[in-house]
C-alpha cells in the first residue's frame, strides 16, 4: 500500500524534536498517581482508600525521622549505608535461624496482613487481609478481607492457572466454570530463587520491569517478594543481604507499621516514590512494606499511599485454613 509511504513521510515531518515527552510530563503523571481520582477502586480496599490530606497524615507519619547519609563500601559504589546494612544483616541472620523449608506444590501460602490506606474522607484506618495462594499457581486460592466490599462480600476466589487457562470471575467473587481466559501461573513460591546476595541482586535487577533504574527495581522487587511470596530461610536471608548491596538505601529509625508496631526501616527513594522495608528492632523480623510519594516530590510533599504489615506467613493445605 503506497499511501503508507507518503503517510510515513508526512508523519516524520510532524515528529517531535525529541523521542520522549519532556521530564515535566512524567513528573506530572507520577504526581497524579499518588492521588486517586477513581473513587471506587477495588472491592477489598475501596472503603478505606482515600487520598491523604497533604501535610496532615503524611507529616505525622514522617515526623521525627532521621536519615543517615550514604557511605562508600568496597568497590561497589555507595551501597546501603552502614546502618541500613547492619539492620539487613541482622535480619538475614535471624531469617537463617528460623525454620522455613520448601512447601509442596499442592499446598497454599497463607499470608495474614494488616493493610492501611490513607484516609481523608468518612472512612479511615486499616483492615485485616488473609490470602491463600496456590504454591505452584495452578490451584484456585482465596482472599479474605475484614472490611467487606460495597456488596457486603468479604472474600473472593483467586483463579488458578491450569494449562494456560484460568476461570473468570462471576458476579459474587466466585469463579465461573463455563468461561476461562488466557493466563500464566502465578506461583506463591518460587523454587529456583538464588540463595546468595549477589545472585539475588542480579535476579532482582534483571527480573524487574523496564523503565526504572536497576537499583529502584531491585529494591521494589525485594519488597514485593517479601509481601507476596513464601521464601525459604536461605532465600529470605539472600533477599535481605541483596538489599544491603543496593546503592541509596538508608536507615530510618522510629517508623511505625500499619499495625502501629514500631520498627526500624530500610528506605529507598527515587523517581518520586519512597519505599520503606520495616523490621522489628529486637527480633529483626520483617514487619512490613510501605510506600508513598517521596518528600522531595515538590508538588505534593511527602505522602504515604500504602502500608502493609505482615502478621503471619505460613504454608497450609487448603484455602481458607487458618494455621
Amino acid at each position: 500500500m503506497n499511501d503508507q509511504w507518503i503517510l510515513d513521510d508526512l508523519g516524520s515531518v510532524l515528529d517531535p524534536p525529541t523521542e520522549h515527552a519532556p521530564a515535566e510530563v512524567r513528573q506530572r503523571v507520577l504526581a497524579g498517581l499518588t492521588t486517586d481520582r477513581s473513587r471506587r477502586i477495588t472491592w477489598s480496599i475501596q472503603p478505606v482508600w482515600r487520598v491523604a490530606a497533604v501535610g496532615g497524615l503524611a507529616s505525622l507519619v514522617l515526623a521525627g525521622l532521621v536519615v543517615i547519609s550514604a557511605v562508600r563500601i568496597g568497590d561497589h559504589g555507595p551501597a546501603a549505608t552502614a546502618e541500613a546494612a547492619e539492620i539487613l544483616h541482622a535480619a538475614a541472620d535471624a531469617a537463617r535461624q528460623a525454620p522455613a523449608g520448601a512447601p509442596r506444590s499442592d499446598q497454599f501460602v497463607f499470608i495474614e496482613s494488616e493493610v492501611w490506606y490513607p484516609a481523608a474522607g468518612e472512612r479511615s484506618g486499616s483492615g485485616l487481609m488473609r490470602s491463600w495462594r496456590s504454591v505452584d499457581g495452578t490451584r484456585d486460592g482465596l482472599v479474605w478481607t475484614e472490611i467487606p466490599n460495597p456488596d457486603g462480600r468479604n472474600q473472593t476466589a483467586i483463579p488458578g492457572c491450569q494449562n494456560g487457562r484460568a476461570p473468570v470471575w462471576g458476579e459474587q467473587g466466585t469463579l465461573r466454570e463455563d468461561q476461562t481466559r488466557a493466563c500464566q501461573p502465578d506461583p506463591a513460591y518460587l523454587p529456583d530463587l538464588p540463595t546468595t546476595a549477589r545472585d539475588m541482586l542480579s535476579y532482582l535487577e534483571t527480573a524487574a520491569a523496564e523503565g526504572q533504574d536497576a537499583d529502584s527495581r531491585a529494591f521494589a522487587g525485594a519488597g514485593r517478594l517479601l509481601i507476596t511470596h513464601y521464601l525459604t530461610a536461605d532465600t529470605r536471608a539472600a533477599v535481605y543481604e541483596a538489599v544491603a548491596l543496593i546503592p541509596g538505601v538508608t536507615a530510618v529509625r522510629d517508623v511505625s507499621d500499619a499495625m502501629g508496631r514500631s520498627g526500624v526501616a530500610v528506605v529507598r527513594e527515587g523517581q518520586g516514590v519512597r519505599y520503606d522495608m520495616l523490621f522489628d528492632p529486637s527480633t529483626h523480623q520483617f514487619l512490613g512494606w510501605q510506600l508513598g510519594a517521596s518528600a522531595d516530590h515538590s508538588s505534593l510533599g511527602a505522602q504515604q499511599t500504602r502500608r502493609q504489615a505482615i502478621l503471619r506467613i505460613a504454608v497450609v493445605d487448603a484455602p481458607g485454613q487458618v494455621p
Binding site: 503506497n2 508526512l10 478481607t145 527480573a207 521494589a220 514485593r224 517478594l225
Partner: protein, 205 residues
C-alpha cells in the same frame, strides 16, 4: 472486568516482568506502579500526539491520557484489547478536543509544502520535489477528512495498531474500521494522484 481485589495478593513470579495487564491490576493497590505503563508507552503516545496536535498541546495530551487511564484503570478489561490500544483510545478522545488545532496544523504543512519546494536543500537530498508536493497534498486531504475517518487512518498508519486494535481503541466494530479506512484512503488517493494513486510516489526515487 478484572477484579482488582485479587491484585492485592497476586504478586508476580518475577517481580518486574509484569505484563501491562498485571501492572494495571496491581496498580489498584500500588498506584505508583502505574508509572511503569507511562515508561512503556509514553514515547509512542507522545509521538502520535505531537504529530496530530503539535507542540505545546501534545505534552498536555500525553499527561492527561495517562491520568485519565489511571483514574479509569479499574475498568480496563484485557478481554477488550491490550493496554496500548486502550491508551491510544483515550488519547484519541483527548485529541478530538483539539481538532481545530489539528486542521490548522495540517493546512500549514500543506501551504509550506507548496511554497517551499524549491528552497529546502537539506530535505531535497532525501525527498524529491514530487514527494514533497505529495506531502502537502496529503496534509490538505487529511484536514478535509471527517474526524472519524482521520482517527482510523492515522491510528493505523501512525501508531501501528491493527484493525482489531483500532476497533478496540475507538470502541467501534472492525467492519466500521474497514469502511472508514477505505473511505479515507479513497479520498487521500484522489487528492494525491487522481485515478492512479501510486503515480506521485513511484515517480520519487
Amino acid at each position: 472486568m478484572v477484579d482488582g481485589g485479587v491484585a492485592v495478593v497476586t504478586g508476580s513470579a518475577e517481580p518486574g516482568k509484569l505484563s501491562d495487564t498485571r501492572v494495571i491490576e496491581e496498580s489498584l493497590v500500588e498506584p505508583g506502579l502505574f508509572g511503569l505503563l507511562y515508561d512503556r508507552h509514553e514515547a509512542s503516545l507522545y509521538r502520535y500526539a505531537y504529530r496530530r496536535a503539535g507542540p505545546g498541546i501534545a505534552e498536555d495530551l500525553v499527561a492527561e491520557t495517562f491520568l485519565v487511564a489511571f483514574a479509569r484503570r479499574r475498568h480496563f478489561d484485557p478481554v477488550c484489547g491490550d493496554a496500548r490500544a486502550w491508551l491510544f483510545g483515550i488519547l484519541t478522545k483527548e485529541i478530538s478536543h483539539h481538532h481545530r488545532r489539528e486542521k490548522t496544523r495540517l493546512r500549514a504543512v500543506a501551504r509550506s509544502c507548496q511554497t517551499e519546494v524549491a528552497n529546502d536543500s537539506a530535505d531535497q537530498a532525501l525527498v524529491s520535489a514530487d514527494a514533497r508536493a505529495a506531502r502537502g497534498l496529503l496534509a490538505a486531504a487529511l484536514a478535509k477528512l471527517s474526524r472519524g475517518d482521520r482517527d482510523v487512518l492515522l491510528l493505523i498508519a501512525w501508531s501501528g495498531l491493527s484493525y482489531t486494535e483500532a476497533a478496540q481503541a475507538l470502541d467501534i466494530a472492525v467492519g466500521t474500521v474497514r469502511s472508514r479506512l477505505n473511505r479515507a484512503r479513497r479520498k487521500v488517493r484522489a487528492a494525491l494522484g487522481g485515478d492512479d494513486p501510486t503515480r506521485v510516489i513511484e515517480e520519487s526515487p
